[in-house]
Amino acid sequence: MKKVLLVCLKLLKKLTLIALITFVLTFTLYITNGENKLIYYVVRPLLNKHYDSQVRDRKI
């Protein structure tokens, strides 16, 4: 019984730690507006370059 309790406690500790690390990481990304900066300054310019190079057949 004690062993099961100890395992549960260890698991809870691990889960709390994971949750805490996840929170710190995601909250930092959130508050610094990190994902939007990455999208605006890096991802979209690269995608736009690709879209602009596409050849489309526009005959009707």
């Binding site: 995601t26 959130y30 508050i31 507006n33 999208i39 300054y41 979209r44 879209y51 526009r58 009707i60």
Partner: protein, 536 residues
Amino acid sequence: MSMIDKLIAPIDKTLERFDPKWQAEHGVGGLRSRYYDKTGVAKWREWRGVKDTMVDYGAWMKNLVSMALMVGSAPIPVMKGFWEYRWMGSFLGTFMFIDRLFEGYRGKELVIAHANMHAIVQSLTKRIAFVLKNDRRLGGSVEGSEKIIPHDETITPLFLKGFKELTPFPLQTLPEFIICDVDQHIEPYYIDVAEAYGLPADVCSRCAAETGVAIDDAFPLIGKAMLSTNMPCNASEATSMFQRRRIGMPDFPVTLAMQHNEKEALPYSRQTLKDAIAFVEQEYGVKYDWNEFFKYAKLINEQNTIELEKWDFFKTPYSALTGIAETLYRLYSWQSVNGQDPYFNKVDRKVIKIMRKAYEQKYQAFGGKTRHRAFLWGPSAVYYTDFPTWTQNCWGINIVLNMDSTMGFNMIDTEDPEKAMDDLTRFTEKACMRHHAVGGWDNVNAVWDWAREFNCDMVLMNDNIACKGMLGVHALMEEQARDLGFHFIFVEHDLEDSRTVSRQDMRNCVNKYMDVVLGEKPLDPTLVEFDDSDAY
């Protein structure tokens, strides 16, 4: 005060100087101070106090999970979609879009706004994955694709729910109707494609953009036959024709009566819907099932019942649902979802509970800073979706209700197919951009009754400079406003083309009226003039 409130009160006090609303009140900044010039990219996210920042962070996480689920459910089609379609790239601006929409929101209005917004995000992400998975252009299976009925975005899909085996899908919603809300730079590209082909530059930019999407082969290839329409107005007939030629599928034009208030119009529109059903039965080899239809009619009836209760709260100063949180949700949940997704019923039940409580507590949104209550008439500039948020934050003008929120709110019979058909016709005729814009002078002029009923002292009239129909009523509306004693502002815009009239040009229409005519001072001076021309 709850235990948590007591615990966070000292933290809020210490950090209040980072709150842009506090900064505006104390003359040391404001909501615009945290942005890089022109881009609309914020240096950091808005600090709203511990509780509201956590609400916003929680909503951000939920939306992030929805997006991850979208990619996870169809990783290859989604990647192919990003590679193939320019409009898919614009969906990456969604987080910035949501931040803009709910800037300055706090307390109950923030909770409701995010509940509504997440309903849209979870629905859209599922739809994107679904359509890309079945897109023949991206290698989707013919069998899967032929279980979809593509239809024009302004046709309400509810009546198509009688086809148990098929999924109705509004064809223009992803590449045009929704995405122009998110990114002001996407539709000008498609407009240019249409104009390069020879389309005149002075037509409605919505129709021009749709035509450009068709010519650019940017519509997903789905379905066996499609339903086009003349709604909301006759400009749509032209774009339907271009799309039909380009897509090359059998189509049925659902042409509903323009003068839809007249009794004589009902049998005509009713027959058109019946013919549309017969067309789908023939093309897809399926049978219409009224019992299946009634299941979904019950869902929309519940949504409309809750909507009418919401309207009672809108008439008071104690509505926690307000501005763009109301407008955008109603537009999407009515026009696009239209009773097809029970998640929206769940959200409506949750929201109405919060609204009832807020009313009992005499809770005033935006800290009671509202100075004017406005009815927003007309299709708004969809490249400036956060315009109602700006009017509130800058001048204290609360957009109580938007014209498109008054779309079909009649109940639909859920037992008798004949009665249901009549109700459904009335319901369908009052679709997006039609209730107060199409169908004769009485429909347009009803704006004053609506404004009065909702206790508004102001009417903002969106002036789509390419809408030939509405340009003719300018002077008449101005005269009416003067006679009836409403504050009245024409807000010029070009619907989906931000190059013709910029967001700042739109803001200036309000700025001038508030400053010169009313002599009022802005609540947040950082919002009066700023450059967001490079923002999504």
